[in-house]
């Protein structure tokens, strides 16, 4: 276990600067913008609670979308990172198994770092919400905030977002691990080849043999990913008790609990099982490539 923790530490040492930059630069831009920029909310000014929540969700969502882009672009390169800086010979000369080494890279870069960024996104979101209330309603706006309700939203929402991030990564794990495997084996051609196989192969299967399962399956992965990371009650915002249309934040805790049950129940599907198997195959291919270094 000490070995694995050290391998995670190595990932942190190597990549923390970039991730912290990603988490902090938007914050440093947002604060002066919120303090000195113009905020336009239309003719009817929403109550302080909704403003706080709206800006918090907007900032957090923006940062996490940015993090998603970074993960998407960075993941294939992780498979060849140590080969490219030629340090691979050093790492494989140490008594750590290939499975542990690849596992630590995957866990840290695809899960723990995004979770850390979620923490920064939440902190920045709270700050954005408070500043927005201050700008729109003045200092009195803070006094008018429904603190109890907002605390409920925070206590229910943040664990749900963290869980959603984990589940979302699991839903996308087959694509991410295949991208890593393709990059490990085919170098710079890996991602284009993978995209061509899935895209053109899927089209060919659908058009020539009336077999749309490949394209549909990939599309479904993204759909389930979306349901996991954004609490929408599996895309059914209008189900009973939804707080969004009515602005009924007092019901948020109960609603988020229902949503959590739905996204967890969503895992009990053949697609998720197939996704995990494909991800495991991708992981195995990355390990195999490392063994052949």
């Amino acid at each position: 276990m000490n070995t694995f923790k050290t391998l995670l530490l190595r990932e942190w040492m190597q990549h923390h600067f970039g991730w912290l930059l990603l988490g902090c630069v938007p914050l440093l831009i947002m604060v002066p913008l919120m303090m000195f920029g113009h905020i336009e909310l239309g003719a009817e000014v929403p109550p302080p609670g909704l403003i706080a929540l709206g800006f918090a969700a907007g900032y957090s969502g923006f940062l996490m979308a940015l993090a998603g882009l970074v993960v998407g672009f960075q993941t294939p390169g992780l498979a060849r990172r140590d080969q490219q800086d030629r340090s691979i010979e050093f790492w494989v000369s140490l008594p750590a198994s290939h499975v542990q080494s690849v596992g630590a890279t995957v866990l840290m870069n695809l899960l723990l770092m995004p979770l850390m960024l979620l923490g920064l996104a939440v902190v920045g979101g709270i700050l954005a919400g408070m500043l927005a209330v201050l700008r729109v309603h003045g200092l009195g706006g803070w006094g008018a905030l429904p603190w109890g309700t907002l605390l409920t939203v925070f206590l229910a929402g943040v664990p749900r977002l963290a869980l959603g991030l984990v589940l979302g990564m699991l839903w996308l794990s087959p694509l991410l691990m295949l991208a890593m495997a393709a990059s490990a084996w085919l170098k710079r051609w890996g991602v284009p080849v993978l995209a061509a196989v899935i895209g053109l192969g899927g089209l060919f299967l659908r058009e020539a043999y009336d077999q749309p399962w490949l394209l549909d399956g990939v599309g479904d992965l993204f759909t389930h990913f979306g349901w996991a990371v954004v609490p929408t009650g599996l895309g059914t915002l209008n189900f009973e008790g939804s707080p969004w249309p009515a602005g009924n934040l007092a019901q948020f805790g109960a609603w988020i609990w229902k949503d959590t049950q739905l996204v967890l129940g969503d895992l009990a599907s053949p697609l998720f099982a197939v996704a995990l198997v494909v991800a495991a195959i991708g992981f195995g291919l990355v390990v195999l490539r490392r063994m052949k270094t």
Partner: protein, 293 residues
């Protein structure tokens, strides 16, 4: 010899890369307390052998290192075997202190305190970043890190390649002073044969994947005879079939495997054969040098 004293035992060891036979049926053993030089031209199989010894390359035949199978028990083996590969590149993003921290977590027999002590012999500071160090300093750092591991066997693949003479001397000084204690063994491959000759106890020569010589330096003096002779006796010397005819300090010389006939010996002046001459004799033309061990 006590079987427990044997650190490496190979029987019929072969290694292929596709159709190319990199190692061809090698059989040898290396006991404890030896400093073994592994010599061979580029492509002779030195790196392949070393990779097989640390479990980074598959092989046919029997191979045991410290009583373990390198391929199946790589992680356990690398706790007692340290290895500097021929492309020894430490991660450029890391600081020296970070590498010490990582080694402490990854290597159960690593002493951070000893590493810091060894580094005091060099111009490397613990606050330095690897990418700010010269190649010589990086190699010194790498040696300090692995010499701080309480291992039984050190495998060094061209560790001083590309270093200037001062860096090479500093490297070998540290190796001898801080690591070789009569119990541990070192297997070192290099092209700088003259420089390592003084520190070797044994030498192994590879030629096109075959082990053409495996002998202690004391035995070399007994088995091989070099004769310095005048040009007038060249024909008579050549008729005795030396394995190499060459020039030494401007004078003609011949190298014999075994003592030449007394009348031939009388034609020249016996001298100690150098490892370089022996290397040239045994590896320059495989077709006229049948396998000899």
């Amino acid at each position: 010899m006590n079987p427990n004293d044997t650190l490496i035992r190979a029987e019929g060891l072969s290694l292929r890369y596709g159709k190319k036979l990199a190692l061809d049926n090698l059989s040898f053993s290396i006991p404890k307390g030896r400093v073994v030089g592994l010599l061979g031209h580029n492509g002779a199989g030195k790196t392949s052998l070393m990779k097989a010894l640390v479990g980074l390359a598959g092989h046919d035949g029997q191979l045991e290192v410290l009583g373990l199978s390198p391929r199946r028990e790589r992680v356990a083996l690398l706790q007692s075997v340290t290895y500097i590969p021929d492309v020894a590149i430490l991660p450029r993003w890391a600081r020296v202190e970070q590498l010490i921290t990582l080694m402490s977590g990854l290597h159960p027999k690593f002493s951070a305190e000893r590493a810091r002590t060894l580094l005091k012999r060099t111009s490397v500071q613990t606050t330095d970043k690897v990418k700010a160090l010269s190649r010589g300093m990086v190699v010194q750092l790498h040696l300090a890190l692995i010499a701080a591991v309480d291992a039984r066997l050190m495998i060094l693949d061209e560790p001083t390649l590309g270093l200037d003479v001062l860096s090479r001397k500093a490297f070998y000084d540290m190796l001898l002073d801080e690591w070789c204690d009569g119990e541990r063994s070192v297997l070192i491959s290099t092209h700088q044969v003259e420089e390592v000759e003084a520190l070797l106890s044994d030498v192994m020569m590879l030629n096109e994947g075959k082990l053409v010589l495996n002998i202690s330096l004391e035995q070399i003096d007994q088995r091989f005879v070099a004769l310095k002779h005048s040009p007038q006796t060249a024909d008579a010397i050549a008729a005795a079939h030396p394995i190499l005819r060459y020039r030494q300090q401007g004078e003609a010389a011949a190298l014999f495997d075994g003592a030449p006939p007394a009348e031939v010996s009388a034609l020249g002046q016996r001298m100690r054969p150098s490892l370089v001459d022996l290397f040239v004799a045994l590896t320059r033309a495989p077709e006229i040098n049948p396998q000899r061990i």
